[in-house]
């Protein structure tokens, strides 16, 4: 037993804001519909899965930090606050994971620079930095404790879990939010087409709250995060499959994270989180004992993790 507990989950996805919408996306009626995104220079727009706009305005939207913040920060904030729930006691670490980061503001700012740098907006630039969402999280949650932003591919969230669990095990923090978030932009959708023409770019966030003590909202215990399994060449599909297989072998047997949530889309760092969260919810309902997730990263490594589901009579 690791003594590191999953005490909250949060999600923002193309299916909507909140875990409930993510769970509903498992059914055909809950599947989100792609939207069209204009791509300059092309007659045909790109299809992307956007997070639907919401007419509900949570209180944190009015915080001065959030007024000019990018969508990625808002996705991360919503998922983090949902995961945090009413768990308010103890020092709070933050591990924010992303692959593309604040790409929308970065693209807009660079576009302004390319046209005329003398009028490029100083309001945009600070929000382009990778750790801007993490900084807003700390500011809104009032946490001065450790705050790291990790950049990586689809497996980065699992690296984040291991980092947060290490902080908790060392006593550096008493609680830790691990969040992954991405935002859609035409420049990313454009790049994705070079590698997976049939995949649709998706945006959103997923978050978990890890704690050293179990509580009323605790639903699982982090059992393990495997060592990353490297493979030499990302273009070598057999090497990639073999690395993924080594990860699967290293994991204890359990309910594999379900694929339906993202089989039609590519959400980089967030996709595996949605799968993991949806699988944990499903395992709770079906009284499965364990959920595992194995992620074949795009950049020469695969990684996996396992959670023990804590059913009401085992807490």
């Amino acid at each position: 037993m690791s003594g590191i507990f999953l005490s909250g989950m949060g999600a923002v996805s193309p299916a909507g804001w909140g875990m409930a919408n993510l769970s509903r996306a498992q059914s055909p009626s809950g599947m989100p519909v792609p939207q069209l995104l204009q791509r300059p220079g092309w007659a045909h727009p790109l299809s992307v899965l956007r997070v639907p706009t919401t007419h509900q305005r949570p209180a944190w939207v009015a915080h001065p930090r959030m007024r000019r913040s990018a969508l990625i920060s808002q996705f991360a904030m919503s998922a983090a606050i949902e995961a945090l729930g009413d768990h308010t006691h103890g020092s709070l670490g933050i591990v924010f994971c992303t692959m593309c980061g604040c790409v929308n503001y970065s693209r807009r700012f660079f576009d302004e620079v390319s046209r005329n740098p003398t009028v490029a907006s100083p309001l945009l630039f600070p929000e382009t930095v990778f750790n801007a969402p993490a900084s807003h999280l700390s500011a809104l949650l009032g946490s001065t404790a450790a705050n790291y932003t990790l950049v990586g591919d689809a497996g980065v969230f699992l690296h984040g879990l291991a980092l947060a669990a290490g902080w908790l095990a060392n006593g550096r923090v008493e609680r830790c939010l691990v969040i992954a978030a991405e935002e859609a932009d035409w420049v990313v959708a454009d790049a994705l087409r070079y590698f997976r023409k049939s995949a649709i770019l998706a945006e959103g966030a997923g978050a978990v709250l890890l704690t050293r003590e179990s509580g009323a909202n605790t639903c699982a215990e982090l059992e393990c995060v495997t060592d990353p399994e490297p493979f030499a060449d990302q273009a070598d599909k057999s090497a990639r499959t073999a690395a993924l297989q080594r990860v699967v072998v290293a994991l204890p047997p359990g309910l594999a994270a379900i694929e339906e949530v993202t089989q039609f889309s590519e959400a980089f760092s967030v996709g595996p989180v949605w799968r993991l969260l949806a699988a944990i919810r499903l395992a709770q309902q079906n009284r499965h004992g364990r959920v595992t997730v194995a992620v074949p990263g795009a950049y020469q490594e695969a990684i996996g993790a396992s959670f023990l589901i804590l059913l009401p009579n085992t807490k």
């Binding site: 930090r65 930095v129 990778f130 705050n147 790291y148 950049v151």
Partner: protein
């Protein structure tokens, strides 16, 4: 398993530096940088990498790299995926791992800090996508190569590091956080050996970004000067090989220094501005000293973040003065950004390397451009080259988003 790890049952392990690699505008490698930092050499010149004709400020400290690559197990095709930033990282990590003689040891981990990764490739991708939207040539390569974790994967492969890799992007504290995180991994027994590095190159987006904030100095970078008017950007990379003292001694490694303390905290004041009293900096300096079992009177030199902006330097001056207490008046402080500029995600790692070099050579890096010290500095600013007896040196790094970090190194004798 990445988690749970077998934490050291004998308590924290001592962590030493056995290799150092560095690339800055002062030159390539330890030798050139030792001399440059020791005499306070300045490396600023007109920016040539992109068009700055419409910028308010047009100077920075650029790195000139050799045309080729260091000897390494990457194919030419893989090596070509690395842009200027990735190549600086490659040179620094190769120097550090070769100095540490890590080539025939078991797998080691890599922790890298950066803010921009291969941003120049991202910029090229965007320009091509706009200007020639139907032209696909090299676009896939650019979209992969610009990503920091892809660059880290290539550098790990080049150095023979097959352990876990992490990329920390905590803005301008990234390099210090990378070194600090690597130290935590070794100290707690989670890893035997970790290569910690930081790197960043000047790119048009970042240069224009700092210019748009009017954070760049239109005159010259003068940290802690009463008339300072901004920072100057630079670029570079540095890498330190960290391993346990026991392992280093067992294999007869040449120990350069011991890393004894690390503190990190988050400043909630503003996305780009520090709290005027430097509260988070006080926390990190205090925490690093607590872990090291030291007090301010034990610190012989502080390598300040010292960007040269009015806000950063006044907040850091307040923080150092408050943290050091009665020690402040005689405490030597300087910023190596006076000579090489602000290296962003590389800054923390480069300044950690500069501290190791200062400990080895027993000198204090001067800030020659600082002529009229800000009266708010209640400590001794180093403005001329000096020799000194150094046992413990501290380095501070602060970044956008309130990322603050402090490292303490001890002389190895």
């Amino acid at each position: 398993m990445l988690f749970p790890r077998a934490f050291s049952i004998d308590g924290p392990r001592r962590v030493v530096v056995t290799g150092c690699g560095i690339v800055t505008p002062l030159g390539l490698g330890v030798k050139a940088n030792t001399e440059g930092f020791r005499i306070g050499q300045s490396a600023f010149r007109s920016v040539t990498r992109f068009d700055v004709s419409q910028q308010r400020v047009r100077i920075a400290a650029q790195v000139d790299l050799p045309a080729g690559f260091p000897k390494m197990p990457l194919t030419p095709r893989q090596a070509r995926l690395l842009d200027h930033a990735g190549r600086m990282l490659l040179w620094a990590t190769q120097e550090a791992t070769q100095q540490a003689r890590w080539n025939k040891l078991p797998p080691a981990s890599l922790v890298v800090g950066t803010t921009g990764g291969g941003m120049s490739l991202g910029e090229r991708y965007y320009r091509n996508a706009i200007q020639q939207p139907l032209k696909r040539r090299q676009q896939p390569t650019r979209s992969i190569g610009y990503q920091a974790h892809r660059q880290a994967a290539l550098v790990a492969q080049a150095c023979g590091l097959t352990g876990p890799r992490s990329v920390i992007a905590n803005a301008c504290a990234s390099g210090a956080n990378a070194v600090g995180h690597a130290w935590e991994l070794v100290r707690t027994g989670q890893s035997e050996r970790v290569l910690a590095a930081g790197y960043d190159a000047i790119s048009q987006l970042i240069f224009a970004g700092f210019d748009s904030l009017q954070a760049l100095s239109p005159t010259r970078c003068r940290p802690f000067d009463a008339h300072r008017d901004g920072l100057a950007l630079g670029e570079g990379a540095a890498a330190l090989t960290l391993e346990t003292l026991i392992a280093a001694e067992a294999r007869g490694a040449n120990i350069l220094a011991e890393l004894v303390g690390y503190g990190s905290a988050t400043d909630l004041h503003h996305l780009t501005q520090p709290h005027p009293s430097g509260d988070a900096a006080v926390v990190t300096m205090t925490e690093a000293c607590r872990i090291a079992g030291l007090s301010p009177s034990d610190i012989d030199y502080v390598n300040a973040h010292g960007t040269g902006t009015p806000l950063n330097d006044s907040a850091e001056a307040a923080a150092i003065t408050r943290w050091a207490g009665s020690r402040a008046r005689t405490l030597p402080v300087s910023s190596t950004k006076a000579g090489v500029g602000h290296l962003l995600g590389a800054a923390g790692a480069v300044e950690a390397a500069a501290c190791v070099l200062a400990l080895l050579g027993q000198w204090l890096p001067p800030m020659l451009a600082t002529e009229m010290p800000d009266p708010a500095c209640g400590f001794r600013l180093i403005t001329r080259p000096e020799s000194a007896r150094l046992t413990h040196v501290m380095t501070n790094s602060f970044g956008f988003g309130g990322a603050n970090a402090t490292l303490i190194f001890r002389r190895w004798s």
